[in-house]
């Protein structure tokens, strides 16, 4: 891990800087500036001038999702979070638009946890978020569900519960 030592630094008046050097000797630096913009610099080994890109917070998050290996689709997306300190634990969070197979049913009826191991952690309904829906929660048409689990569990959820 020593090669990837991440340095974080508070720069007065500017914001926060994160910097690390890759195994191959390239340097990546990210600045969260006080203006809200996020600047990313990359400096190739042996080069003098870095190249830079400035992003809005939304764009920066999007880049983060791509870098974590998430599949980004037009409307459904998933984020995979890897915890390297915990035996490389990988957790995937995926969004689904409910299909006819689940509309009108409760989380309990569908036996989501028993069948797949995945958990519905939030449902977005008419731009309102329901966090941690209870087992008695009934899915409606137009809901978007946020499901968390290992990638196998998510695949199972897609194949057995949220069938087209």
């Amino acid at each position: 891990m020593s090669a990837m030592a991440l340095r974080s630094l508070n720069l007065p008046g500017v914001g926060t800087k994160y910097e690390f050097e890759t195994d191959k000797g390239d340097t990546v630096a990210i600045f969260f500036t006080k203006t809200g913009a996020v600047q990313m610099y990359t400096l190739q080994k042996g080069c003098q001038t870095p190249s830079a890109a400035e992003m809005s917070p939304v764009e920066a998050r999007r880049l983060g999702n791509i870098l974590t290996g998430a599949i980004i689709e037009a409307d459904q997306e998933s984020v995979e979070i890897a915890f390297s300190a915990l035996a490389d634990l990988r957790i995937t969070i995926h969004t689904f638009f409910v299909t006819a197979a689940v509309i009108g049913k409760t989380i309990e009826d569908l036996q989501i946890r028993a069948k797949t191991g995945a958990t519905v952690i939030a449902v977005c309904r008419h731009d309102r978020n329901i966090i941690n829906p209870p087992p008695t929660f009934v899915f409606e048409k137009g809901d978007a569900a946020l499901v968390i689990g290992e990638s196998d569990q998510i695949k199972k959820f897609e194949g057995e519960i949220m069938v087209e």
Binding site: P12, G13, V14, T33, K34, T49, A52
Partner: protein, 377 residues
Amino acid sequence: MESLILALFVCLVLALITKYLSIPAIPFYILAGVLLGKAGGGMLTNNEISQFFSEMGLIFLLFFMGLGLKPERIASNRSAVLTSGFIDLNINMIIGFAAAYMLGFSFTESLIIAAAFYISSTAMALTSLIENRKLMLRESDTVIWLMVFEDLVLIIFLAILSAGNQNLIIFFVKILAVLGVLYALAHYGKEFLISILDRDDELPILFTFAAVLTTASFSMYLGVPETMMVIALGVAFATTDPDAFEQHARPFKDVFLVVFFVFFGVTVDFSGGANWFVIGAISLIAIASKLISGLLTGVFIHGSALSGLEIWANTIARGEFSIALAVIYGSPLVGTTIAAMVIVTSIVGSFMAKYSGVLRRGIVNHSRHKALLRRPH
């Protein structure tokens, strides 16, 4: 009132244009004040309202500076910060003072010009680093810490200059007493302060405004400089939730400071008694002197004169703090000189900061070219 509205409208237009061209707005606010003031047939005149707004601008500028100061942060790379800070301070103060004194200013006037000459614009330096995408350069860290060092020196200046003829012991005891009270309030009232800042009604912003104004007027009542005390208030509040305070103080600072710059311009009179030779000389020496300190810093900290050039490019611009010194202590003549210096250095500075990369590459290529020519065939 009409003056103020006209000033605000002109500034709005100027802000739009300068943001679009990504050049600093401060010199243009001052120029607008100069042109619409005495020179422009007095379309803008100073009155009670504009004076109040200007004072608020100054106070919020200094409060903001205090919020950004966290002395314990310097501990991390102390020797580099101190070396570059002392080079910058000594070179520029000495050259600034000598230049002003030799050009005929009195001892006190020269001291104030030297201070204004020394202190670069933090706002312009940081904006230029971000906008020109230079944050990753190692010289950027040096510039950022240089700005913190300069801010700290400014506080010492304010203390020395405002002590005047008072009994120094009583003066400093008073200051220490007020500082003690501010720190005690921030320390023991921390949870209360944070609970206020967390609310989403009008209370946080009302509290911030009231706290700054109360501190300012209370210190005037006690006879300690309000400028120092609002900085101290900022430093004390920075121990609670500086980001929240910045967010709530920013609207006041932004609006009042623009008015402050314009009406500073209004007081400037280039037509009567202004000595163009003196003004031009100070402005040019101000650019040259930062080149010397920049090059020395580059050589001492980064082992490279080219680094020094980069540091120079980003610290040429003098701005808000130089004007603050002119407004607080300067005579009209000193004010005019500082105004011209700010306008010239900030425009040259923004240009140099934008093209410093080109300049560095040009110098490197040129020296390579020369080395090739000299090589025996």
